[in-house]
Symmetry: C2
Subunit: 456 residues, 2 copies
């Protein structure tokens, strides 16, 4: 790989937007919670799709690896340039290109972050619902097939992208999808790129679905006698078709640390958090229906809040779940699992995970996007020689349990480096071979984010 | 292509489920509203995925074309075996394999039809929302990326499939997706197969999302002074976030024939039909909100009905729109366009289409899944030597208008043979080349439904 030739030629294209600085290379060597084992040879900050096209043609010719970099918040080593080469930082491509109120759609460059977008949309009375816990880029969210607490009602990023502009390995610029709500013409290239983790193309622009900010928003919190009761309530709420916008679970361990951290006047017991969107009457009716169902499953204290402040406090506590756990265990590292199972197996999956935690001697809190069957075990491990390895082993065990229960190795964080070993078990040899043949067809020289998604 | 060798070998596998009968070959030579120009050499009725795998390995070895056949209701020549070979009829694979009430999911074989499925689901209190106008197979719906009147609320088939089992060109059996609601591991093979029109693989089993039958259903109909007023009302209803389950438009021409055919006590003017799903109170509130918005846009007669009979009469009339038009024009052929545009361009697109109809001297009715911006011009052409050609030319013109307005050549019917010529204009050379390279990677010998999707 003639990386030096690529860098020399790229310098004339990018000038001082190509950096060899050690610190910049180090910050581009890892995502959240990973160490930097390998550095990129250079970091490049493109500003247009055309520039990326020129660069990729060059990298393709020279077989130089390219790893796209958004906000670097991914959790499975996605952005680590394991084969060196170029780290392509999209954050200067952060223009909001269009918002169409009548069509409830908009277009952004890949480096726009979700908070930037929602701040911008507020004046339009619109919002974009996909909300991972970090302030990541929309391009990164597409690449990892991200979701968040709103997915149970609004879907994941997959459901909220109408089309993409992307640069393929050889520099070809493609436009996929379009502005229409649905289309029945041709292969779904948009969905192929979503979740491809930078291995099939560099996403540069995204056409998004947007939503009107609901007239009314209500929140509720409800403690339960048992975890099973809480999950059974979730199942019945989904069956009843109550259009909950969010339905999140926190286990007693998580509640204990969150109560301390966020000064909540709640009890450390299995707890569901709700958010309802609709008209004022609709929200009240949804809450009343949810309350009746929770009561039938051992719900003990359904507290409903429509005032912004009370709502925000509750959801801020949910968003701070990670920090609450870290604060409770100073000197510990933290590591989040991300499994998903059919909801009928969710209580079982969480019980098995908790047994494994106990057996491991580590500590953990469980939170979950339970409407989808997705939950995270936040593993807290001591800062000892083998601490991280023990956490890692525990994560492997929990993933195995989810797969045995008909689940997936990741509900939202993605594969990156960390979940590659489960791809065969989850998808089987045939599907994996099908993925690899698509990869070979579209990136025959393997320059796009090598070492990710597939075990070599 | 050694089709005779394939047939000889297949006979030992399928016995009398391999047919050379002329009539059977003729019924498998065309979909709805197409003539049979080429016949398959044989029609095969498999009963298991394993049998299809064996057959495809054979076809692959002998380079024999295979065209999957569901209910044969597709409208763009999809099932016509232009290169001869095998027509693979999936209708014997019509078992409903699983329904999981807690998970709101189910699994069916590809030959199950949507009516069969919904009849079965009724006892579970569940339904499957994707509802094309014909009683097609779920496999065919996946293959064409079908949708229908419920798409505005529940999405298209794309949004309601969790996973697939499929047989690839060389006989490999793949399982894509799974039972989980969302997953962030690996390329989205499920969405790649959805809409691939039998050109990438034979779908044999489908894991579906299901929904609880709503507590209450309400219908409404509202006439408008102008078409623009009706469309503006739709835009505002969508912006307001009223979760309408269906919002359909019929123009005065369609209303005139439907009033006559279905004996409706309505006026032949621009008309919206609504369906609302929810609680009894929620449905009433949705209807009241929709009514207020329609009134602000020249809506003249908002009539709301919750009783099953009145609702059914209204929606039956919508479903019979096609037959009403045909009855009004005896001795005419009928041909449906299927364009979609961003909703802000919908009124313009329908106006342009109507001008083209007038200029053509043909007659037409317009109906639309207007919440999505999708509309059909039902062209009625005289049974003369050039009648069909004039209808065809008019269709081309209307597709061109939609593409100029940022739309797609098909919202739901698909590409087949009829829309191939628009693929370049809609998707551009790069995206089309990307599709072709995927096709070549997965079906290197081009045996799966040759002659469709791409112009040669
Ligand atoms: C505290 C915390 C909470 C989180 N909560 C959630 C959550 O609730 N849900 C969730 O889904 N995730 C969550 N995440 C994970 C993370 O935020 C997501 O994976 C996010 O989508 C990553 O976006 P990013 O911009 O940071 O991408 P990066 O980390 O920069 O990159 C991620 C991957 O995408 C590729 N990539 C980035 N941009 C592009 C592009 N333009 N074109 C092609 N490939 C590209 C990269 O090469 C890499 O493989 C959380 C992370 C943290 C730290
Ligand atoms: C009156 C009428 C109304 C209609 N209304 C609508 C509508 O509202 N919305 C809409 O979307 N469509 C509509 N259609 C079109 C048609 O019903 C759809 O395209 C439907 O999805 C076709 O399903 P089918 O089972 O009939 O498939 P077929 O016509 O048998 O096949 C369609 C295509 O899919 C392929 N195929 C079929 N089964 C499989 C399989 N198991 N694996 C791989 N490929 C397969 C075939 O090779 C072919 O390319 C309508 C048609 C009619 C006649």
């Amino acid at each position: 790989m003639e990386t030096s030739a690529t860098i020399a030629a790229a310098r004339s294209l990018f000038g001082d937007r190509l950096s060899l600085n050690q610190t910049i290379r180090e910050t581009h060597a890892h995502g959240e919670a990973n160490a930097a084992n390998t550095l990129p040879d250079a970091v490049i900050f493109p500003e247009t799709t055309g520039e990326i096209s020129q660069l990729l043609a060059l990298c393709h010719a020279n077989r130089t690896p390219v790893t796209p970099f958004g906000a670097g918040t991914s959790l499975e080593g996605h952005v680590t340039p394991v084969a060196g080469g170029i780290s392509l930082d999209l954050t200067r491509m952060n223009r909001i290109l269009a918002v169409n109120d009548a069509d409830l759609d908009g277009r952004v460059e890949a480096g726009v972050t979700r908070k930037q977008l929602n701040t911008y949309l507020r004046d339009h009375g619109l919002f974009f619902p996909v909300d991972p816990g970090a302030d990541c880029t929309i391009g990164g969210m597409c690449a990892t097939r991200a979701s968040g607490t709103n997915a149970v009602r609004y879907g994941t990023i997959r459901d909220n992208v109408l089309g993409l502009r992307a640069v393929l390995a050889d520099g070809t610029i493609v436009d996929t999808g379009g502005r229409v709500r649905k289309s029945a013409t041709g292969y779904d290239l948009t969905r192929l790129l979503i979740g491809s983790e930078g291995t099939l193309g560099i996403i540069t622009e995204i056409q998004l679905r947007l939503y009107g900010i609901p007239e009314a928003i209500g929140a509720a919190v409800c403690g339960f006698a048992t975890e099973r009761g809480a999950i059974d309530a979730v199942i019945e709420i989904m069956q009843t078709g109550i259009p909950v916008a969010r339905i999140e679970y926190a286990d007693p361990d998580q509640m204990a640390v969150s109560i301390a951290y966020s000064k909540l006047d709640l009890i450390a017991q299995p707890t569901l958090l709700f958010e309802f969107h609709g008209t004022a009457r609709g929200v009240a009716e949804q809450a009343a229906m949810a309350e009746a169902i929770t009561a039938a499953h051992g719900g003990q204290s359904f507290a409903f809040a429509t005032e912004t402040e009370a709502r925000n406090k509750l959801w801020q506590a949910r968003h701070d779940a990670y920090w609450a756990a870290r604060a409770a265990f100073p000197g510990h590292g933290a590591f989040s699992t991300d499994t998903i199972v059919p909801i009928s197996n969710l209580a079982e999956a969480m019980e098995q995970a908790r047994e494994s935690v106990t057996a491991s001697g580590l500590r953990a809190c469980i939170v979950g996007h339970v409407g989808d069957g997705n939950f995270h075990v936040l593993i807290l491990y001591p800062d000892t020689a083998d601490g991280a390895a023990r956490a890692w082993a525990l994560d492997r065990e929990i993933v195995g349990q989810a797969l045995d229960l008909g689940g997936a190795a990741s509900g939202e964080h993605g594969v990156g480096i960390g979940k590659r070993e489960f791809m065969m078990r989850e998808h089987g040899a045939s599907a994996l071979a099908m993925m690899r043949s698509i990869k070979s067809a579209l990136d025959p020289r393997g320059i796009l984010n090598p070492g990710k998604m597939f075990l070599d």
